[in-house]
């Protein structure tokens, strides 16, 4: 009995303040979490609208699609459907993640409604070397993906960057980052297309 009294004497402040601090954090979180979630949604929506400019609205087409990654690891991603003003499906977009040079690279990839051509990609989060790997966010690299047919994409060191084909010219000084993006594309895009075809969500013959 004496021991318990001793413990309480020693630690009452710690216990009481833990509760108070816990409460403080809980209240703050309750007040701001809707804003935080909204911010994340807004960012994704903005990026997707930037890629599919005619889109009026995005809605989730398939939740938690399973993708088998390069090391056999299964990752899940939501597939979004882009709808224009008349409610017509004009494209798809999804978040794709892969290893970059320094950290994970998170991309938003968009394709057209028939899943035939890549509409482009945007970087949602990355931590690539400033001045080198960070150039994956620049037009020289981004524009090479616009209009590329869905299929296997290869990275080449030299070539015509302005020609739209499945050969992507690497950024000089940032081969690893360039390669990482191509790898993310190759991991996700065909896989999703096949799954969509199996589910009969794509128009055949296109």
């Amino acid at each position: 009995m004496l021991k318990i009294k001793h413990f309480i004497e020693q630690s009452w402040l710690l216990i009481v303040s833990s509760f108070i601090f816990g409460l403080l954090i809980a209240v703050t979180n309750a007040a701001w979490s809707p804003r935080i979630i909204q911010n994340e949604k807004d960012k994704l929506n903005n990026l997707m609208t930037g890629l599919i400019s005619d889109a009026n609205n995005f809605e989730i087409a398939i939740e938690a699609l399973e993708i088998v990654g390069s090391k056999g690891k299964v990752v899940r991603t939501d597939l979004y459907k882009a709808l224009d003003v008349n409610g017509k499906n004009i494209g798809f977009a999804f978040i794709a993640v892969g290893a970059g040079f320094a950290d994970k690279i998170k991309l938003v990839i968009a394709v057209d409604g028939a899943f035939g051509k890549v509409a482009g990609f945007a970087v949602l989060a990355s931590n690539e070397t400033p001045g080198f790997g960070s150039k994956i966010k620049e037009d020289y690299y981004l524009s090479q993906f616009k209009g590329v047919p869905v299929g296997k994409i290869v990275l080449v060191k030299t070539g015509d960057a302005e020609k739209i084909d499945s050969e992507i010219v690497a950024i000089s000084g940032a081969t690893v980052s360039s390669e990482a993006v191509v790898k993310i594309f190759n991991t996700y895009i065909n896989n999703i297309k096949e799954q969509l075809q199996k589910k009969g969500l794509l128009n055949k013959g296109k």
Binding site: S11, L14, S17, L24, I25, T28, S33, I36, P130, F132
Partner: protein, 209 residues
């Protein structure tokens, strides 16, 4: 009575100035090196980081100073960490809710304020031994001193790596036909170490007199 008041204003002034220069956490005490090196690639993140640290330091110094007589010596570090972690979490949530872009740029460095030694050092060395008012002045002095040092470092790095200050271009870049070639190295860790080293040397030369 008048003399006492004079002594205390002198003490407050000295406490405040100490954080700014004589005991500047970055240049004199070399505390909090992790954010100093990591988020000073540009002015905006450095300033945000500095303001977050001022907020956390201010709140934790108040709380620690108020409960300094209740603290059990062997549990004090635990109490400090608990207090600091609470306010850092609040600062982190605030940035996520109202400055989402900045929150992304700073990434893990906001939660890492919890282990920033400036804050725990001030709790231990000042707030747990001094009355409320002195602790508040100390928090402001140290916080502003830290922020100012970060901004000096970040200003130098930003202008040399991008030719801009607060993302507003000031030097004409070579890619637009100007004379200035940006030093990419300055925005990388190597730039942080070199700039900090040179600044420390400069501060040492000035204070040696």
């Amino acid at each position: 009575m008048a003399k006492e008041a004079q002594i205390s204003t002198g003490l407050f002034k000295e406490t405040f100035i100490a954080g700014l220069w004589r005991e500047n956490p970055v240049f004199r005490l070399l505390l909090g090196m992790c954010p100093t090196l990591a988020v000073t690639a540009a002015l905006k993140p450095a300033l945000t980081m500095g303001l977050s640290v001022i907020f956390v330091l201010f709140c934790s110094n108040i709380v620690v100073s108020l409960m300094r007589n209740l603290l059990k010596p062997h549990l004090r570090i635990l109490m400090f960490t608990l207090t600091i972690a609470t306010f850092v979490t609040i600062a982190d949530l605030f940035l996520k809710a109202f400055q989402p872009r900045m929150s992304e740029t700073l990434g893990p460095y906001v939660p890492l304020i919890i282990v920033n030694c400036i804050i725990i050092c001030r709790a231990e060395a000042c707030a747990s031994k001094n009355p409320l008012f002195v602790s508040i002045i100390d928090a402001l002095g140290m916080g502003i001193g830290f922020t100012a040092a970060m901004c000096v470092l970040a200003g130098i790095r930003e202008i040399l790596s991008t030719g801009a200050v607060f993302e507003i271009p000031v030097l004409s870049l070579s890619e637009n036909g100007g004379w200035f070639v940006p030093w990419a190295a300055m925005s990388m860790p190597v730039g942080a170490f070199i700039t900090l080293g040179l600044l420390l040397a400069l501060v040492n030369v000035i204070t040696k007199k």
